[in-house]
Amino acid sequence: MNTFHIMRKELRNYFSSTIAYAFLAIFLFIVGFFFYMSMVNYSMQSTFAARNPMMIQRMNPSDLILSPLFSLMGFLLIFLIPVLTMRLFAEERKLGTIELLFTYPITEMQLVMGKFLAAVSVLVLMFGFTTVYMVLFTKAFGYVSTQIPWGSMGAGYLGLFLLSMAFMAFGMWVSSMTSDQVTSALATVGGLLVFWIIGSARMDLSGPLMKVVEQISLVEHFQDFTKGVIDTHHIIYLVCFILFFVFLTIQVMEVRKWKG
């Protein structure tokens, strides 16, 4: 119940300020623009393909439109999720209200979960809006192919959802350690970029280290989802990533008890 009260308060904060609206607007605009461009691009290519039977085989709308779209959304969220998570705890520290929260009859777990779930709710709302693009997509290709690629969409959304929750858990943890929102946001973007590109480092490495680096990389575990593949080992990795950083945040809350 307390989790719910905290969540309610956080949601009010998101929507009473401009944060949530700006977040939704920027994301939906960029994704919408990209979606429009790939649709236009696809239709131009398909007029060429019409004269070439070999090319038609490779004109799979899922691969050419959905997959890049999900990849783009994932990448975009590296820069947008920190906007949602930066103030979660940094603001409480700045205002000093965290002292109030710590002396109310709620547990650290309830506090952290309430805040996390509020941020996730904004995310769910945002993904809800992006289904408009999916509807347009199925309408556009409804006559080309009788089979709407439900699987690709489902896998893409599942991957995107897990990925963005992983970003959020990380961002929340960073926010719990600072009282400055700008620091919180920048450190989160930096950290997430490292997690994103670390996979490229495997070229210069070999042996077990290469394997580790490859497995740590978030993009590695996200890419298959965008291609419509659901692999349990990716799900397990992302879920562990989320739980790990939620757990760390709770620990940061508890640290005050043991410090000194």
């Binding site: 119940m1 307390n2 009260h5 905290i6 309610r8 308060k9 009010r12 904060n13 009473s16 300020s17 520290r93 700045k94 205002l95 000093g96 209200t97 965290i98 002292e99 109030l100 929260l101 710590f102 002396t103 109310y104 009859p105 709620i106 547990t107 350690m177 600072t178 009282s179 940061v252 640290v255 005050r256 008890k257 410090k259 000194g260």
Partner: protein, 329 residues
């Protein structure tokens, strides 16, 4: 209602409080008095379960602050120093949120919020965002969130700091009205506040308790002799001679003269009653008229000076050395 047993708290190499033990009865109003960084806030933070003590134990409303921390927190209202509040929330919404966190079910919440608003005189600003309120109103919002559940224990850290004299009196009366029903601990370094509000004083300096008693008792213990003032009509030379002749009168000085032979004197006298009787009897017997006699009682300030003598001045310049949130990074 509240008991602390040998509480110690260290922050790294700094010993914030050491061996703090005391008991507070139900319905009492106790004032923590001490200079900055004396350990008042640290003690309060332990009692409110913000952090546990390094060693020692404390119980509030019958629950251990460490083992039953959630139950303790259900039974206290706490006003932290500097009154942290959500500045973007309207007063009413804020109090409703706090009430929900403190576990008041939805049905009763409106009534509780309304009652807190009424008691703290927030009716006029209930709809306004807290960020727009004056310092005095914010202080009241802070107190309102502490009392909203009518908790048996109230812990108020410097409730009147930064208010104007009128507001101080209002807040003081508000706090007094909780006495008897709730047990109140408040901290302050404004000395006469303690005299006006508190039943007992806990004098704390450098993390240790120096004294814990009622103001008259503390004064009684500290005062070896009374400051005594006297106004008499007659001839000053003769009066002085009579007074000097009385055993137990010391440091006699004439402090002034009004018209028609009225003289004012100050002196130190021994604490026994017989000295005062002797003064009165002898002067009267010699034909002088006593217009006024008065014992100067020690104020909280005198007591504070007497017990924390040499450091008082330097303490005022000292900046707060309290551990602030955000150091965790």
């Amino acid at each position: 209602m509240i008991s602390a047993d040998k509480l110690c708290k260290r922050f790294g190499s700094v010993q914030a409080i050491k061996d703090v033990s005391f008991e507070v009865e139900k319905g009492e109003i106790v004032g923590f008095l001490g200079s900055n960084a004396a350990g008042k806030t640290t003690t309060m933070r332990i009692l409110t379960c913000y952090f546990p003590p390094t060693s020692g134990s404390a119980t509030v409303a019958g629950f251990d602050v460490f083992k039953d921390s959630l139950k303790v927190r259900q039974n206290i209202g706490y006003l932290p120093e500097n009154v942290p509040l959500y500045t973007d929330m309207p007063v009413e919404y804020f109090l409703d949120f706090i009430a929900s966190l403190k576990g008041i079910p939805g049905k009763e919440r409106d009534a509780k919020v309304q009652s807190a608003i009424d008691r703290c005189g927030l009716g006029e600003v209930a709809e306004k965002p807290i960020g727009f309120l004056s310092k005095g109103y914010r202080q009241r919002v802070g107190i309102a969130q502490a009392i909203i559940t009518d908790p048996p224990v109230l812990i108020l850290d410097e409730p009147t700091v930064g208010l104007d004299p009128k507001q101080i009196i209002e807040i003081r009366n508000l706090i007094k009205s909780f006495g008897g029903k709730s047990t109140v601990i408040l901290s302050t370094h404004i000395l006469h506040e303690i005299e006006k509000v508190c039943d007992r004083i806990l004098l704390i300096d450098r993390g240790q308790i120096l004294a814990f008693d009622t103001l008259p008792n503390l004064a009684e213990k500290l005062q070896e002799r009374y400051d005594f003032s006297l106004t008499v009509t007659g001839s000053t030379e003769k009066i002085k001679a009579v007074l000097k002749g009385i055993d137990g009168v010391d440091k006699l000085q004439e402090t002034g003269k009004s018209d028609k032979g009225i003289y004012h004197y100050r002196m130190k006298i021994a604490k026994s009653k017989s000295v005062r009787e002797a003064i009165s009897a002898k002067l009267t017997a010699d034909g002088f008229q006593i217009l006024e006699m008065h014992i100067e009682k020690m104020s909280a300030e005198d007591i504070f000076r007497a017990m924390v003598p040499d450091r008082e001045k330097s303490a005022k310049d000292q900046t707060e050395e309290k551990p602030k949130e955000g150091e965790a990074k």
